[in-house]
Amino acid sequence: MKKNFLVSSIKDSLFTGLIALALFGPIVGLRTVAKNEVLVVNPKWFIVLIIVIVCALGRFLTNLYFYNRDQKYGIQSTIGKSITNFLDTKGTQIALSAIIFSIIFPFLPFTDRYLMDIAIMMLTYIMLGWGLNIVIGLAGLLDLGYVAFYAVGAYSYALFAIHFGWSFWICLPIAGIFAAMFGVLLGFPVLRLRGDYLAIVTLAFGEMIRILLLNWYQLTKGPDGLTGIPRPSFFGLPFKSFPEEGEQTFHTFFGLEYSPMQRIIFLYYLILVLALITNLFTIKIRRLPIGRAWEALREDEIACKSLGVNPRNTKLTAFAIGAMFGGFAGSFFATRQAFISPESFTFIESAIIVAIVVLGGMGSQTGVVLATVFLIGLIEVFRDFESYRMIAFGGAMVLIMIFRPRGILATRKPTITLQKKEATK
């Protein structure tokens, strides 16, 4: 028995090695490089050899270690359960301490410019994740084109601010309304489609918006992007190092020394507040009839229809509200960057936001935060290995789906459950 097992795992690992050779041999081993305008092949067999040996050995070791398959799933599900339990019991305290931490974060001694930038980026993704969580997590509609609303928000903010000179606080709601309008416009025809069809149509919509932004040169300046988007001011007080004659700026008004960090700290609090508003909104609306209807619709559409819930209108509100928060985040993005181009709104952004929501555990607000910190952190850690970081990102998506298909935090619990009969199992 034991010997047979050894022989079969050796065979298995040899087979793995062979497959690895077939996979990595041509693509990694035969790198094509342009030499005098003609492609030539530059062999790299040594790397392939290493990869093949690692694959075969890895397979052999995992075979030895996990020859009892149940064991593997046993380990991972207990870890998952303990995380979920821990957050269930200590959820409120953790959320509160996280909020307090994020409020004092800019003034902590180790906080520098780089960390602040990452924190702002993470908060933007958290806000987008929370916005999309309304669509995916609550209403159960897989939207792969969320970045379209983000783009609509960013562009409408930029255009209004540049051409009319309106301030951030006027443009923000306008951008949100525009994004919501686009949400309704798209949602109206397609929302009756089933899950994965909807996913592809929204993806197509996201690409359409990007192509439109790329080609409508008169309005969007195409690939050149929009420059000179006004920076936000602190309720009318701009952040400038050299104020013009008679102009009050942030640092002169408060009698502070000028520092470029002031604007960054302001931006940080701005996105923190916007994100928390999104979160609060979601928590509140979940308990309202419309929120209940979204979740009911996610669970069983036919049952909802027979109980008199209008699925189209209900889905449409979820779509529009999700889009609106995407639009808010987009205007923040535009004002932070002061420059936007279609480059920033590619499909990969949508994929990252969807990944955040799904990996966090659909419908879980805390999960979104955890997933953002994990995924964006992962991308940041691998920053020096430019081309490998997205491989790690994609790989993490696959791995989390395999080991925690319901996301890191699968806290969705039905209030009433039917008792299953043992015999039917």
């Binding site: 693509i27 094509t32 192509i211």
Partner: protein, 305 residues
Amino acid sequence: MDTAYFLQQLINGVTLGSVYGLIAIGYTMVYGIIGMINFAHGDIFMVGAFIALISFILFALTSIALPIVLLLTLLIAMVFTACYGWTVEKLAYKPLRKSFRLAPLISALGMSIVLQNYVQAAQGARIKTLQPVIQGGFTFMEDTGFTVSFSYLQIFIILVTIVLMAVFTLLITRTALGRAQRACEQDRTMTALMGINVDRTISITFIIGSSLASVAGMMFVMYYGVIDFYIGFLAGIKAFTAAVLGGIGSVPGAMLGGLLIGLIEVFWSGYISIEYKDIAAFTVLVVVLIFYPTGFLGKPDIEKV
């Protein structure tokens, strides 16, 4: 001149449609058998194009006759790309077969990102150009002022597509494997009870789909002469549109849909606007899904309580 122009667009459209059709078969077969959108399929096509490119470069160093080079490249691309399809299924989809509906889609999305960036890391981000492999062709209607050309390459692409389609249609309708596949589509548990290895049937489906995609990749690299690691994304969406248009789950439908998408795209860029040619395909996708959710040759999807 107008007829000549029209004819030229028609030829180009059919050629492009063949490529989309071959990719679409992979989508439609996988959707038919396990009910998921294999998002990474477009990237499998891209891998196939790269393998074909590498193979062409290597054969260019030898002095093997052109027909043998084409045949060998075809086989090499099919075999190696099939390995990718098989591995992706084993790693990313098989563990999720009993999971909830969106899990395989997310996993496929992750796999697509992995494949794209892996090829970018291994082969570089720059576009790759291939010298024309097959040159020359027929030209006719020269007297009208617009010369219509039907190149040997286009003939080759259309012929190979027809042959492969015939072979795979036979495979699905006439062989034990095809019967097993169709049985799996209907009821996997029951099929397993009848003594059919469901896992193997699904694996073979992925292998067939990927090898057809690799043929499409080979044609793509020969036809356009330039590829990069990103081609799989757009081609994948368009091929998926083709699969939906023809009726997802139906193999002849996929071919028909591919042909239509190819024609629509070419005529749109020929007569309306070339910048918005990708929008044409997407608009078709949206319109079809709204008015024809089952596609032309698909079966209606009945919702059960």
